[in-house]
């Protein structure tokens, strides 16, 4: 983004996040260039853009993951910068480097920082060396079942088996004994090979009563790293987040201070620039936390941080990418009130099975403290090719109680017909005593839906769903 030149940003993403990024880009008086697949031509993020470039067919591998097509679109539209959003190419160091090599501004961290955090074993060892607490686990990639067994016995059951190259909950499974370990290792390593082309496995101690708490960091243009607050993302199904809130009801001032300091150290150790998130697990019994992974991009749930701080994180990403100062007082950030985000998915609210289809009616709630980041409108078709996120309902209140009350009202006013949605699930969640008390952990959904949320599928009758990332199935 050169001074005096009409600036433009190409958004290499789709749906709600493409639209949310465009809102800031437009507000700053910068041209919005959208790219889209054949399946997305009618979506709001296209009609609202200043220019839109078709990059390929519906399959993500041929469109939103197609670096050549996106770079060609950037050249054709004379884009000055690329914002990758989350998912797709956002954490692809090679793509980031190609954007930079093409003379464009990459709105994200350096390819080197992406690379260093991309491998979970490497990131874990790096963070341990930087003084962050990590769970007991394997410091080297585990590549065979006997080694896996030896590691698990040394660490002590239960353990978590993870793909070293994975992310987003893909291929993660737990094991409570030797038999489960052997079975879980086979599944995890074959999936890791298939999805990531790398069968390396990381085995870590599994903390059973844990909260998933992450810290939003910003690496500033001048090299400083700051923490902007935490988000509690313990409400999950299939290791995927359903609801997030800030502040975390399970984190007190002393723990918060230690977590922020650790997150800042994590960012500093890789010379981080831009928005990033340090994910941790907090042991509910001991009050201790361990580093889980770092996401080197804008997070899906970033709006809760924006709601309590009043800071537009996309704007800060753009300023930092441009080498400029951020637009808020770095030393005077004071979060106000409580914010909650509910992810509205096109899925059956009981069994969490996907439900693509045509949207016949779409009415969003509004009111004090209510924000909706939506990717769809009435008349759109929700394709089976992409993830089920339709919209995010974000509410803010002066305290948690008011935020939950506003969420409840907003859910009642949110109408989506056509695909099944999890709006009814969220209404139940808000009323579920464990959640509303604030004293919940990463297993809260398994207690609300005891039959339908097992790691590898649902018990009993009917289909079981396994969370995968088919976008990543490059080696199938």
């Amino acid at each position: 983004m050169l001074p005096g030149v009409p600036d433009s940003v190409l958004i290499a993403n789709r749906g709600e996040i493409a639209r949310r990024i465009a809102r800031t880009v437009r507000r700053l008086g910068i041209k919005v260039i959208a790219v889209y697949s054949e399946a997305d031509a009618d979506l709001p993020f296209i009609s609202e853009s200043d220019e839109a470039v078709l990059i390929g067919p519906a399959q993500a591998a041929l469109s939103y993951l197609n670096a050549d097509a996106i770079l060609a679109a950037a050249e054709r539209s004379r884009a000055h910068a690329i914002h990758p959003g989350y998912g797709f190419l956002a954490e692809n160091a090679e793509f980031a480097q190609r954007v930079i090599d093409a003379g464009l501004t990459w709105i994200g961290p350096s390819p080197d920082a992406i690379e260093q955090m991309g491998d979970k074993i490497r990131a874990r060892n790096l963070m341990a060396a930087a003084g962050l607490p990590v769970a007991q686990g394997s410091a080297e990639p585990v590549t065979d079942a006997d080694d896996a067994l030896a590691q698990a016995r040394r660490i002590g059951y239960p353990v978590m088996i993870k793909a070293a190259a994975g992310g987003g909950g893909i291929g993660m499974t737990t094991a409570a004994d030797d038999d489960q370990l052997r079975a879980g290792f086979d599944t995890a390593s074959s999936r890791a090979e298939r999805f990531f082309g790398n069968s390396s496995i990381l085995i870590e101690r599994y903390i059973t009563r844990a909260r998933h708490v992450e810290v939003q960091i910003l690496g500033l243009a001048d090299g400083r790293v700051i923490a902007l607050g935490e988000r509690d993302c313990s409400t999950q199904r299939r290791h995927q987040k359903l609801a997030e809130e800030t502040p975390s009801p399970g984190v007190g001032p002393e723990l918060r201070e230690r977590m922020f300091a650790a997150a800042v150290r994590a960012g500093e150790s890789v010379g981080y620039r831009g928005a990033g998130t340090v994910e941790c697990l907090v042991d509910g019994q001991t009050g201790q936390f361990v580093f889980l992974e770092m996401n080197t991009r804008l997070q899906v749930e970033h709006p809760v941080t924006e709601m309590v701080t009043g800071i537009d994180l996309v704007e800060q990403q753009m300023l930092i990418a441009d080498g400029a100062e951020v637009s808020f007082g770095v030393d005077s950030v004071k979060p106000i009130g409580h914010a909650l985000e509910l992810r509205v998915y096109a899925e059956d609210p009981i069994r969490f099975l996907p439900s693509p289809g045509a949207i016949t009616a779409w009415e969003e709630p509004s009111g004090d403290g209510v924000r909706v980041d939506a990717g769809y409108a009435a008349g759109n078709v929700v394709s089976q090719h992409y993830d089920p996120l339709l919209a995010k309902l974000i509410v803010h209140g002066q305290d948690r109680e008011q935020a939950l009350a506003r969420a409840s009202d907003a859910l009642g006013a949110f109408v989506v017909t056509g695909p099944k949605t999890n709006l009814p699930f969220h209404a139940e969640l808000i009323r579920f005593a464990e959640f509303s008390s604030g004293d919940y952990d990463t297993s809260v959904v398994t207690r609300l839906r005891p039959l339908w949320t097992d790691d590898v599928g649902v018990h009993g009758r009917g289909p079981r769903a396994v969370m995968i990332d088919s976008d990543m199935r490059r080696y199938a």
Binding site: L353, Q384, R461, S470
Partner: protein, 70 residues
């Protein structure tokens, strides 16, 4: 005879069973893919697969026949 039908729009990613196979209750017949999830379709009861109505790569609609078990 049990007809097994699709519960959602999906791509048929893998066909695991073949016509003529003897399957047990809960065995995986095919694996569907929709919205970045793999959804194994299971045999509802033991028997013989007398018909497999889908092939890998097919796009199927909600209610489409997947298999018949006898």
């Amino acid at each position: 005879m049990t007809e097994i039908r699709a519960e959602m729009v999906a791509n048929v990613w893998k066909v695991v069973a073949a016509e003529g196979d003897t399957v047990g209750d809960g065995d995986t017949l095919v694996i569907l893919e929709s919205m970045k999830m793999e959804i194994p379709v299971l045999a509802e009861g033991a028997g013989t697969v007398v018909r497999l109505a889908v092939a890998e790569g097919d796009v199927i609609q909600e209610g489409d026949l997947i298999a018949v078990i006898e």
